[in-house]
Each structure stands twice: as structure tokens, then as C-alpha cells.
């Protein structure tokens, strides 16, 4: 039964009843209701329990400022901690109160109220120390945390993000925002208007005002209709502007857009201008037991009566320090609520205010000291200011207004500064930091006429037109005498209802010396809840100011941070999956690899490569050994396409490469290749690779897979910033050239079996040379480099030919037993041969000398990147770690890669580490590479690997285990 639903009025659709459950109770409401308005219509007032003391709580506000009634939604829109005031009612909705068990009416946690005096702010810093925190933490964690988190992602529907550009983004479609949109829209600007509410109108939805002689909501709907007809205006409702970033980049969270399957959309808006017309938020008065169910913000009570046709109580006491509550009282009375009295802090109540509520008792210069009643307010005690004659007035609704705070959140997020305004007793926008204008309530224009005018002015300023005349509006002037707290309050007087922070808590913080407003906030947790203190923060500042004898601006505010209201992570992430953040890189062979059952994994730089190609019944080691043996004894092939490849062209390319590489490149003859090392100017190893000279002015530079992007950046930066007049052009051709590398003693035979026109003899095509022609009747470049230590032919073709080449190789190689080899076998082969791998042997500390590659450091060139720094570093007295080979004394003992070497294997600072360890198929034992202090001079010594449970002795050798003179790769 909607016992408190008014028979008529309201912006609800009575033809569309909705049924919902709250804490298991079946209730009903109407389309247009929020959960909060429907609960009140059903006469449900005890809706929540507080965070710390588990005090009974009701509904306090009517929008996102709601500090009290948070619910957990169940079922298809499961989510936690939703203010009941922002949950749009729908049929079948199921909601539960958070933080109480079994129900808000009977909550076992309520026992905390008995101990409240021993649980002041920060009590946990003083206790729970003995015997240790771990004893107490689990139960504290269980008690905290409000709602349970949804266990599953939404079963249906998705989130998405969208970019938008606008000349003007307006946050808020209240009177100021609508007016600004109208003016800017008519002037032809590309306008985006976003409002958090279900429908446009802002404060006009809650109030009964007129604009231009007609009902204000008529003006709203006419305006919305006109805006809808403008192609240059995008109008979003249910869309909160939640973040204001640098360079006028703002985030708008649109909920339930009219698109089935789309849950939420995040708009990323880049706007040339921004108008924040975000209105004002009513603040609480601070008196005793100001948290009892039935104690409600006056504006909220007015909203329930006008917008939702709900009677929030039968007999109300209204308490205020400003004019706005008088119109609330008038509207409540019109809705059939008896106004028992209006308590006004002010000595002089303006006649215009009194005129709104004729025949009502108005007690000026009075304060409310306490609300009586536990599970619902049943009376209030009031007293004249400075007097002690208390009087009790019975009521079941206490509507209070402590004034209005301009919603400066977005303006402050944009880094605009705030100032304290004595007349409005609030913080107002001061200097903008970006192209931002505040309008309406957000700018302190707290009457309708002012709001319309400031909206028109702001829109006109952005559009560069004359501000039009605004229609007349009837509204009381806003007149406030601030009251930060009632000094004679009895009972707990809450500043932050959500986090149970009372005046006593703030006073305790100050007494203990936590006297900065940030200290107060952190010590008491005031303002740190889900509402981020929208109704209470300024009262905390005021309470601090009163106690310290300071002005509010001397106390200052805490920082406003995004988001304005909580935003689901799903909306922030949008539709993108991780494969967008971490995109896949494929080669034309990827599908073939998968079809072969290759074990694929991430191999750096977003490439997914085959690690090995297992056959049924094989262990990992069996597979790798088989692949290695194929290369050492027969022939294998791998897809080398991910190697970074760059084409350099221009007169100065040779000179540029001489600067880039440690060795001399410019003397290379066309048709030949040279291995080289690149250093950073800090003398650290950047990359190694091979350069090919195509002709006098054209080169191909290949880099390691993982460092291709870094090298690209490095080269471009040097050319564009240091040598802009050098004639060199760089083209990334990694994905223009794919390659299949055929390696092993039978590689030449396989090559010969492929139809081609390149002379493959060692005389014509020796090691470290290349030739262009055809392979398998495909245009190709064949390069004789080797990363395995065997005779190798790297066959480079265009990607569109890669699969054909691969198939041809498999066919031609079949008689020779060719098979694909993966990264694991490649690793084993290169370790056996003592070749360098950047990810293993180079960890940011070694230089080429440490790796036994002093030969690659040109002595002839007076300068190249890293030369000076390597010399400088080696002139220091730091002991160098040098590359060595290690053979475990027990040939069957594997050394974990990365394992430390320590003197004698003791638990002592390390003297090196094993960078790689593999089973050598040629030596039939485990062999490894290591970086060892002064290692080059310690060949033959025994060193010790330190493990968690023992040591492994190993002999130090030269870092090469196979074909030390390179006869095989040159064959």
C-alpha cells in the first residue's frame, strides 16, 4: 500500500505501477519514482543502519548527495552502495540495506551504540595493539565495507566509451544550464548538455515556480523540445560529468542509454569551453540526533512532495537558517503535511518568507537542540538562542536546511580556485584555470531569476553574442545566517552521517593536535565516505573554524577529486578488452603454428611466438632436444618475422650508423652484412643486430624483436632533433618483410630443392652476405646470418608470400626431415654457441667488454654513442661482472636461470648470477652462461650457485660450448 502517496500530482506515471522488493518485502511504486521516493510512498522510513554505531537511519536527501540510505542491488543490475535516491525504480527491482544484519529494523550491530563513548574518532590508533593487530583485523574487516561486492560481471549487456568534441560542454540541465544551452545552441555552437538526473529541470523539478508567468516545468519542456530540434546540440540525461581533466577534457558517464544491451557509456569529451551549471547542494544543520529517521533536508522533503507526490510525514517541524526552507514548508503544507512550527535561527525573518506560510508558527532566533525518538523522530526540543527555556514540539518529519553549497566540484577539479563568500556563507568559484565558466547555483546564483540570467550570460559569452533578456521568475531572495553547529546540542550531533562523525569527534581531533583540516578529515574520516561529504564537509570546516577562532577560508577546504559521484569501472574500461591495451602481433605463420599444436606464448613486444612443437608422448625436454638435434644434425626452420627491420636511405646513412653502432658500419660493402651493437649515450647496451648494405645509400637494419620500437624511437629522435640536416630517411619495414630461417648442416640442400635463381655456394654467398633473387619462385632476399651457430639462410619475402614460402620449405625439406623449431630450442642453441640474448645476459649493468665483445668497440672512431660513458664507467673502481660459461660439476644438474652465485655458495652477497642454463644436445650435459665478478680471469675455477636449499658447484669456462671457431656457421 502506498500509504503516503498523494492522490494527485507529481512527475510519476500512475498508469505504470512497478513492483519491487526491499529487504525481502514486496512493495510497489510508479514509473518515475526513485527507490527512495517509492520507499517513502510506502511509509518505509527506517531504511539503513549507520557505519560505525549502527544507529537507525532514514532517507536524508533526494539525489546523489544522499549520505544515509545506501542499498545493494540484487539480480541483473547487482551493484553495491547505491544511494536509494539515485536508483531509478523499475519493475522487479530488488534492493537490500547495507551494513546491517539481519535488517535495519532489527540489527545486531546496534549493540555498538552502547559502547559509543569508547569508540571516539581514531580509537583504533590507541587500541588493538596487544598482542597484535592481526588478532582484531579480521573482525574489523568483516564489520567494515558496507555492501557486498557483486560476485559476477553483468551477465548481459556491455559498456562502451565514445569520443566527442564540442564547442561547449554544459554540465547540468537545470535553469542555468538549459538557458546557457539555449543561447549557445541558437548561436549555432556545437553544444553538449549533460545532466545527471532522470529528466531535465534540476531544481525546477523539486519546486513550484513560474517562469514567464507559466509553470517552470512548462518552460523546461519547451526548452528541451527546442534543443532537441537543434542538430548542433546533443542533450544527455542520466549522464554525470564526473571528471574534469587538463586541456578541457571531461568524462561523462551516461547510464542506461536508450540502446538495448548497452549498460553504460563513458563519453570522453574534449570541449573548447565548459559551463558548469551543477547547481547547489543543501547542507545539514548540526544538532543533537540529527540523524534520526524522519530527519530530512528541507529541499529533499519538498522534492518528495512536489516531484514524486509523496507525503514524507504527517506533521513537520521545519528548521532553517535561510529562506529556502519557507518554500519547502509551503509546498509541504500544500501536500497535506501539517507544519507544526518553523524554527529559524535568524532574528529577522523576511516578510516575503513569512508570507509563504501564513498562519504558521514561526519561532525566530531559536535553535533546535535535539531530535527525540530512536527509530523515528517523534518530537524536537527547541530553545531560544542564548536562552535555556526549552520547548518540545511533536512531529514525525523534521525538515532542515543549513543553507546551500554551490557544487564547485567540477570547477575545483579543473584546478580553478575557490573563495569564501561571507554573504552566501559558502565557497564560491574564484579564478578559473581553464576555459571554464560557472553558472547558476554552482556560481552562487541561488535564486531562479539569477540562475537564468547567469546561464544566459555564460552561454552568450561563449557564443560571442549578446545575452538575451530572460523570462521573469518568482522566487524568494536567498538570505542566510550561517550556523555550523548548534552549540547547545544534546546527543550526538553528526557532521558526516555516513561515516558517523560527530562534533565531538572533530573536537577530539583538534584537542589532540590534529588541527589542519586534512588532519581532521583523516583522523575522523569525515567526508571520506561514498558521498565524499557533499552535505557535511562545510560544517566540518565551520566547526573547526569556530573552535579555532578562524575564518572558514583560513581553515580551507580539502581537495575535490574526481569522480563527482562513483562511476563503475566497467564504464571506465569501456568495451575495450585487454587485447586492445596489449594488442596481438601476428605473422602469416601464426595459424600454421596453432594448427601444428605449437605451445604459443608472449615473447616480448606483444608478439606471440611458438615456444616449442610438442609431439604426442613427448616431455618438454624431449621436444626441445629433438628440435635442437634437428638443427645440429639435419635441418630446421623458424619464423623470424618479428625481428625489427628498418630501411635507412640517404647520403648520410653510413655516417649515421657509425654514430649509432659501436663499430664502423660505413666501410661495409654493398651486398654484405655486419653484426653491431648499439649503446645508449649512458654506455648501456641498447640493442644488437645486423646491418645490411643494399647499395651506396640504402641499408637494412635489423634489431632484436623486443627492442624494435625502442630503436625506432632512438633513431628518429637522433635524426629529427640532433641531426636534422643529415640526409637519412627511416622506414619501418618489420611487417613489410617476413622471413623463414632455414638452419642446420642440410640447410643448403633444402635451399637447393626450392626453385630459385640465387647462387647459394659459399664462395658467391659467404657468411655475412646476402643476395636478392627468387626462392620458391617468390621474390626474396636471402641473408646468411646465423643465430644458432649452424649454416643458415634467412629467406626474406613479402608477407603475402610468406605462407607460400613456408609451405614450399616444408615440402622441399621433408626428405631432409625438416621441422619447425620454437623459441626454446633457439634459446638452447644460442646458449650452446655463446650468443648473446638481451633479455638474459644484458640486465642494464653490463657493457660490451664485460661480454667479451671489446672487439666491437671501435677505437678508430673518435665518437659514437656510449663511447665516452663506457670509458668513464670503466675508469671507476667498481668490480665488473663478466660473461663466462658454467658447467655444473654434476652434468645432470640443472641450474635455475637467474640463480645467484655466491662465494663458496654461502648466504653472502652475490658475486654473479647464472643468466641461462640449457641441456646441451652436443655435450649431453647441462651448460650455462653466467655473469661473474672478474669472470674472464677465473676460467677453470669452481663457483657455487646458491639455492634456497643448497648449492650447485660449477666449473667456470669460456662462454662457448660448441664450434668455437665458427666453422659450421661459415660453411
Amino acid at each position: 500500500m502506498q500509504v503516503d502517496r498523494l492522490p494527485q500530482g507529481g512527475r510519476i506515471d500512475r498508469s505504470r505501477p512497478l513492483s519491487f522488493t526491499f529487504n525481502g518485502r514486496q512493495l510497489s511504486g510508479f514509473e518515475g519514482d526513485t527507490l527512495a521516493s517509492a520507499l517513502l510512498a510506502n511509509g518505509v522510513h527506517l531504511t539503513a543502519r549507520s557505519f560505525k554505531y549502527h544507529r537507525p537511519r532514514g532517507i536524508v536527501g533526494s539525489g546523489p548527495e544522499e549520505p544515509s540510505t545506501l542499498v545493494e542491488l540484487e539480480g541483473e543490475d547487482a551493484s553495491a552502495n547505491q544511494p536509494a535516491t539515485t536508483v531509478r525504480l523499475r519493475d522487479g527491482l530488488s534492493a537490500r540495506s547495507v551494513n546491517c544484519w539481519p535488517s535495519p529494523g532489527f540489527d545486531l550491530g546496534g549493540i555498538n551504540q552502547l559502547f559509543a563513548r569508547f569508540l571516539p574518532a581514531g580509537f583504533y590508533y590507541k587500541t588493538f595493539k596487544w598482542p597484535n593487530w592481526h588478532l582484531y583485523e579480521p573482525s574489523i574487516r568483516k564489520a567494515a565495507g558496507l555492501a557486498g561486492a557483486p560476485a559476477e560481471p553483468p551477465a548481459e549487456g556491455h559498456f562502451e566509451s565514445r569520443f566527442a568534441h564540442a564547442d561547449l560542454l554544459i554540465a547540468g540541465a537545470g535553469p542555468a544550464g538549459l538557458m546557457a544551452a539555449l543561447v549557445a545552441g541558437r548561436a549555432g555552437l556545437r553544444v553538449m548538455l549533460a545532466d545527471e538526473g532522470i529528466e531535465a529541470g534540476g531544481s525546477l523539478l523539486s519546486r513550484k515556480l513560474t517562469i514567464g508567468g507559466q509553470e517552470a516545468m512548462t518552460w523546461v519542456s519547451e526548452t528541451v523540445t527546442e534543443l532537441a530540434a537543434m542538430p548542433n546540440v546533443t542533450h544527455l540525461q542520466n549522464a554525470t560529468v564526473w571528471a574534469y581533466r587538463e586541456h578541457n577534457y571531461l568524462m561523462v558517464n551516461e547510464r542506461a542509454p536508450e540502446n538495448p544491451g548497452l549498460l553504460e557509456r563513458n563519453w570522453r569529451v574534449r570541449a573548447r569551453h565548459v559551463i558548469t551549471a551543477t547547481g547547489a547542494i543543501e547542507r545539514s544543520l548540526v544538532f543533537g540526533n540529527n540523524d534520526r529517521p524522519g530527519v530530512m533536508l528541507a529541499g529533499a522533503a519538498q522534492t518528495y512532495a512536489n516531484r514524486f507526490a509523496v507525503r514524507p510525514g504527517k506533521r513537520a517541524v521545519v528548521v532553517t537558517n535561510n529562506n529556502s526552507a519557507y518554500s519547502a514548508a509551503a509546498d509541504l503544507r500544500a501536500a497535506g503535511v501539517e507544519i507544526a512550527a518553523i524554527i529559524d535561527i535568524r532574528r529577522d525573518v523576511p516578510d516575503a518568507a513569512r508570507a509563504l506560510v501564513p498562519d504558521t508558527e514561526i519561532l525566530s532566533a531559536h535553535v533546535l537542540t535535539t531530535a527525540l525518538g530512536h527509530r523515528h523522530v517523534r518530537a524536537v526540543e527547541i530553545a531560544p538562542i542564548g536562552g535555556d527555556a526549552t520547548r518540545r514540539i511533536s512531529c514525525d518529519l523534521l525538515a532542515h536546511s543549513g543553507g546551500w553549497n554551490p557544487a564547485v566540484h567540477l570547477f575545483s577539479q579543473s584546478r580553478g580556485t575557490l573563495r569564501y563568500d561571507e554573504t552566501l556563507a559558502s565557497f564560491l568559484p574564484d579564478q578559473p584555470a581553464q576555459n571554464t565558466i560557472c553558472a547558476g547555483g554552482a556560481a552562487g546564483a541561488l535564486t531562479l531569476a539569477e540562475a537564468l540570467r547567469s546561464g544566459a550570460k555564460a552561454g552568450a559569452r561563449v557564443a560571442g553574442v549578446q545575452a538575451p533578456e530572460c523570462p521573469d521568475a518568482d522566487d524568494l531572495p536567498y538570505a542566510i545566517e550561517p550556523l555550523w553547529r548548534v552549540e547547545t546540542a544534546r546527543g550526538k550531533a553528526f557532521l558526516d552521517i555516513q561515516n558517523d562523525v560527530s562534533v565531538d569527534d572533530v573536537h577530539l581531533a583538534l584537542r589532540e593536535g590534529y588541527d589542519n583540516v586534512e588532519h581532521v578529515k583523516r583522523y575522523t574520516t569525515g567526508g571520506m565516505g561514498i558521498d565524499q561529504g557533499k552535505t557535511g564537509n562545510i560544517n566540518i570546516i565551520g566547526t573547526v573554524a569556530l573552535k579555532q577562532g578562524l575564518r572558514l577560508d583560513e581553515v580551507g577546504t580539502t581537495t575535490f577529486r574526481a569522480p563527482y559521484t562513483p562511476v563503475s569501472f566497467g564504464a571506465i574500461g569501456g568495451i575495450r578488452g585487454e587485447s586492445v591495451v596489449l594488442p596481438y602481433r601476428h605473422t602469416p605463420i601464426t595459424e600454421w603454428n596453432l594448427a601444428q599444436g605449437a605451445f604459443m606464448y608472449e615473447a616480448g613486444a606483444r608478439w606471440r611466438r611458438p615456444g616449442y612443437f610438442p609431439r604426442p608422448g613427448e616431455s618438454f625436454q624431449d621436444t626441445v632436444n629433438r628440435e635442437c638435434r634437428a638443427v645440429r644434425e639435419g635441418v630446421g626452420v623458424y619464423d623470424g618475422s618479428p625481428l625489427g627491420t628498418f630501411e635507412l636511405k640517404g647520403r648520410d646513412a653510413g655516417r649515421f650508423l657509425d654514430h649509432l653502432y659501436t663499430n664502423v658500419m660505413s666501410t661495409l660493402k654493398p651486398g654484405r652484412c655486419r653484426y653491431g651493437l648499439m649503446l645508449t649515450d649512458d654506455g648501456l647496451i641498447l640493442d644488437d643486430g645486423v646491418a645490411l648494405r643494399l647499395d651506396e645509400h640504402r641499408w637494412i637494419v635489423s634489431t632484436s624483436t623486443g627492442h624494435a620500437d625502442v630503436v625506432n624511437s632512438h633513431m628518429e629522435e637522433l635524426l629529427q632533433t640532433q641531426f636534422p640536416d643529415w640526409n637519412v630517411f627511416i622506414t619501418t619495414v618489420t611487417s613489410q618483410w617476413n622471413n623463414a630461417t632455414i638452419c642446420g648442416p642440410k640447410a643448403r640442400e633444402v635451399m637447393a630443392a626450392l626453385e630459385g635463381d640465387i647462387d647459394l655456394s659459399p664462395e658467391t654467398l659467404p657468411f655475412m652476405s646476402f643476395a636478392e633473387g627468387t626462392v620458391a619462385r617468390l621474390p626474396a632476399r636471402v641473408v646468411r646470418v646465423s643465430f644458432t651457430g649452424e649454416l643458415s639462410f634467412e629467406v626474406n619475402v613479402a608477407p603475402r608470400h610468406m605462407r607460400a614460402l613456408w609451405d614450399a620449405i616444408m615440402e622441399a625439406g621433408a626428405p631432409f626431415g625438416i621441422g619447425p623449431i620454437g623459441s626454446e630450442a633457439n634459446h638452447m642453441l644460442r646458449v650452446e654457441k655463446g650468443f648473446l640474448s638481451l633479455g638474459h645476459e644484458v640486465d642494464g649493468t653490463v657493457d660490451p667488454h664485460d661480454l667479451g665483445m671489446g672487439w666491437v668497440m671501435s677505437k678508430k672512431k673518435p665518437d659514437y654513442l656510449g663511447k665516452r660513458s663506457v670509458a668513464l664507467r670503466r675508469a671507476g673502481d667498481a668490480v665488473r661482472r663478466e660473461l663466462v660459461g658454467v658447467r655444473p660439476t654434476d652434468p645432470n644438474r640443472q641450474i635455475p636461470e637467474g640463480a645467484p652465485l655466491t662465494p663458496g655458495g654461502e648466504r653472502k652477497p652475490t658475486e654473479g648470477l647464472v643468466t641461462a642454463c640449457v641441456w646441451s644436445v652436443v655435450l649431453n650435459r647441462w651448460v650455462g652462461l653466467a655473469l661473474l665478478e672478474r669472470g674472464a680471469s677465473r676460467h677453470g675455477e669452481t663457483v657455487h650457485v646458491r639455492l634456497t636449499d643448497g648449492t650447485i658447484p660449477a666449473e667456470v669456462t669460456a662462454p662457448i660450448f660448441y664450434d668455437p671457431h665458427g666453422g659450421r656457421l661459415k660453411s
Binding site: 581533466r245 587538463e246 586541456h247 578541457n248 577534457y249 574534449r270 584546478r415 584555470a433 649515450d681 649512458d682 624511437s713 628518429e716 629522435e717 629529427q720 632533433t721 640532433q722 673518435p862 665518437d863 663511447k867 665516452r868 660513458s869 668513464l872
Partner: protein, 85 residues
């Protein structure tokens, strides 16, 4: 996300760029510089509480390296790149 003025492409989102670091003094001749000066060149960058000159690479755009002055307190770009013409 900054809006970075590319001399070729116009104002573009920061996500199209790679950061190229603050602009340091030019590279000294390594063979005519003291150890201390060489180390200072390598390791020290301007770190002002205010405008800093820095490079961005329009790597997901036209590929140009550009230089702007950006205020580290506000992120306002106080001077864009010279017009590439």
C-alpha cells in the same frame, strides 16, 4: 590527457604521442668535456616548477618529433612547436 599541437596534424590527443623527455642542453663534444660535465649532461634535466621544454613523438600520427613548453603545475602548453611550414 593533453591536447598536443602537432605542426602537421593540428591538435591531437596525447595518446597518439610518445613522450620524448625534457630538452637538455646540446650534446657536448665528448672528447673535450670534463667527466663532471659529461655526467651532468647525461643525468641532469631541467625540472622546473613551471614551464619546461619537452619533446613528444607523434608516433601514432605523422612521426614528427616536436617541442613544446608545458607548465608542470597546470599542464597548460604555454608555447607550441615552431610551425613546420
Amino acid at each position: 590527457m593533453l591536447l598536443i599541437p602537432c605542426p602537421f596534424c593540428g591538435p591531437r590527443n596525447e595518446s597518439e604521442f610518445a613522450f620524448g623527455g625534457p630538452v637538455k642542453p646540446g650534446r657536448p663534444d665528448p672528447n673535450a668535456t670534463s667527466n663532471a660535465d659529461w655526467v651532468a649532461y647525461l643525468t641532469q634535466v631541467p625540472n622546473p616548477l613551471g614551464p619546461v621544454q619537452e619533446r613528444w613523438w607523434h608516433v601514432r600520427g605523422c612521426g614528427t618529433w616536436l617541442t613544446i613548453w608545458r607548465d608542470t603545475r597546470t599542464h597548460n602548453i604555454v608555447e607550441g612547436p615552431a610551425d613546420a611550414g
